[in-house]
Symmetry: C2
Subunit: 201 residues, 2 copies
Amino acid sequence: MTLYDYLDSGNGYKIRLLLAQLERAYRWVELDILSGATRTAEFLAKNPNGSIPTLELDDGTFLAESNAILWYLAEGTRFIPGDALARARVLQWMFFEQYSHEPYVATPRFIVKHLPADSARRAELPARLKQGRAALAVMEGHLAAHRFFVAERYSIADIALYAYTHLAHEGGLELEPYAQVRAWIARVQEEPGYVPLTRRP
Amino acid sequence: MTLYDYLDSGNGYKIRLLLAQLERAYRWVELDILSGATRTAEFLAKNPNGSIPTLELDDGTFLAESNAILWYLAEGTRFIPGDALARARVLQWMFFEQYSHEPYVATPRFIVKHLPADSARRAELPARLKQGRAALAVMEGHLAAHRFFVAERYSIADIALYAYTHLAHEGGLELEPYAQVRAWIARVQEEPGYVPLTRRP
């Protein structure tokens, strides 16, 4: 397997974290998303949506979308529950992550960290951070009664939500008001095989 | 089962279409999302993210996120393929739909159709429609070589993408340039048990 990725991407990190915890070997290719490496004809032939992470499988085909890749790699392992409803709840939290969390927790971090200080996109920050606080409040409420997001055990739902949540402060979302979220972050970091985002494969 | 829903919601329609094709009976409760019916304490107790569709199961628990509900209802039926990689590709297209398609195809329709003509949110339309055209171009490219999105047969990936695509013109995205998308829409409409969005359960 080859993972096309960018080190500072939380979406890419989801896959790196799971692969580390699965102890699976893979080839890692970093693409500079800031200089257009995911918009070349060569890369668009691999993933027409031009996004990383993209996973090249042993049969030469490609799989895109971080949470779909997580599901593919985790199927049949301890990182997805066996019960049908619990499996659907894993997906519920992963769709929550992509629709209600990532654009408001990850995108501010991208704007602050990777765009020029005078970028016009800074005007998006107040509205995005407001939605980000709403997403964190939903997580805080759930974690008040649960150790992990689904079935009281660590799963790819936690990996998907952890990736950008633990870096939310880098985009201007302070986690201080969210005690349950901070306690859950500490639990994730204690899981066997945990690696930080900055660990180059 | 009880489906909390709003008739004009494409996300809700995904579930209604699948349930019709599965010939499953359910109770249908319409909530007026425009007057705050999904932001009441009563509804937030069912789904803390305050979104429809939300499915109440026979055990009294709730499942949210349209594509997670599709997965839960379709598991073990002809609407999800059996092969592990094909299943991950269904999820790939469903995550594409929620992240790269819905905010740019569905949200413009919501702004145009449901907000006042002088809404400040109309300023969002040009940027959103540009991204909507990018999403339609990705679909057009895929459908140039495939009859349906995954494994050459109709699945919940098609249902998820069809829901807002076939109504894209209502938000200002004309489908005329996308011949493959239009042919696929016609194929979806020929599937057994097809019902239109306007059909009240």
